[in-house]
């Protein structure tokens, strides 16, 4: 249901599939957290292209991982949510990190920002 990949420069790409509710979020939370704490991670990209459903549990999951990333000043991007999911992100103040692009471009964006620092 979830594919987690890490790029050489420390960006985690979480590709979610199927449905993401409370039950599913509880099952993948620690897996993603331990990846974040495992090394020099400076960004998480949530690829929702193939996610069919999400409720507020997804907001909790993403905000929680943003907290995990905070000590490293890590960045978060959310890719290709459905129209309904995008509304949920907007209500929750996450509208600014939503992008409609492919994973490569999103990795470039996070890498690019880091490069400028």
């Amino acid at each position: 249901m979830t594919d987690i990949a890490i790029t050489k420069n420390g960006i985690i790409v979480v590709a979610l599939r199927g449905e993401l509710g409370n039950h599913e979020a509880n099952r993948i939370r620690t897996q993603i957290s331990s990846e974040i704490f495992s090394g020099k991670v400076h960004g998480v990209i949530w690829d929702l292209t193939h996610l069919g459903f999400m409720d507020s549990s997804g907001i909790g999951l993403i905000l929680g991982r943003m907290r995990d990333l905070a000590p490293q000043n890590g960045e978060t991007l959310i890719l290709n949510p459905s129209a309904t999911m995008e509304k949920i992100f907007q209500f929750s103040g996450l509208g600014t990190v939503v992008r409609h692009c492919n994973v490569e471009k999103a990795i470039g964006e996070i890498g690019g920002v880091l490069h400028e620092q």
Binding site: G21, N22, H23, S56, S82
Partner: protein, 148 residues
């Protein structure tokens, strides 16, 4: 089309998907658009998850009950539990208000339900339980088929 149903299940998180699936099937004859369907499914998921985790603390014993009614293109639903109840409903409905931050709840459930549903109302009493009631009207089938 008119229809009516009741679904009852114990408070375990596995039943969130059961509720979403069952209610999705229930409204399929209304031929909802993808967005109408996913908004409806989200409301169901929020209300049922709240009943399981806040109402019953996932006790696996007590039951959540969903009642659904279809009158023409309008769906009326209630999601009820006989659990903990809500101390202050107005406060609970404020965006970002949650009593379970350690479980990574974001406090957005009611905000999402209110935006996606028509006429959402919440009745609750401490120690007696909570009833969430809402309506959603779906666009008429003929109009959608013309657009296709």
């Amino acid at each position: 089309m008119n229809n009516e149903m009741t679904l009852s299940f114990v408070a375990i998180e596995e039943n969130e998907a059961l509720a979403r699936m069952t209610m999705t099937c229930f409204i399929t004859p209304l031929d909802p658009t993808i967005e109408e369907l996913s908004e409806f499914k989200t409301i169901v998921s929020e209300a049922v998850t709240n009943a399981i985790i806040h109402g019953y603390d996932c006790d696996g014993i007590r039951k959540v009950t969903i009642h659904g009614k279809i009158e023409d293109s309008k769906v009326t639903m209630t999601v009820s539990d006989e659990g903990n109840g809500i101390f202050d409903v107005d406060q609970a409905m404020e965006p970002m208000f949650t009593t379970k931050p350690l479980l990574e709840r974001s406090g957005m459930g009611f905000t999402i339900m209110e935006s996606f549903a028509d006429n959402l109302s919440v009745e609750s009493a401490i120690g007696q339980g909570t009833v969430v009631r809402f309506e959603k009207t779906f666009s008429p089938v003929t109009e959608k088929s013309r657009m296709r």
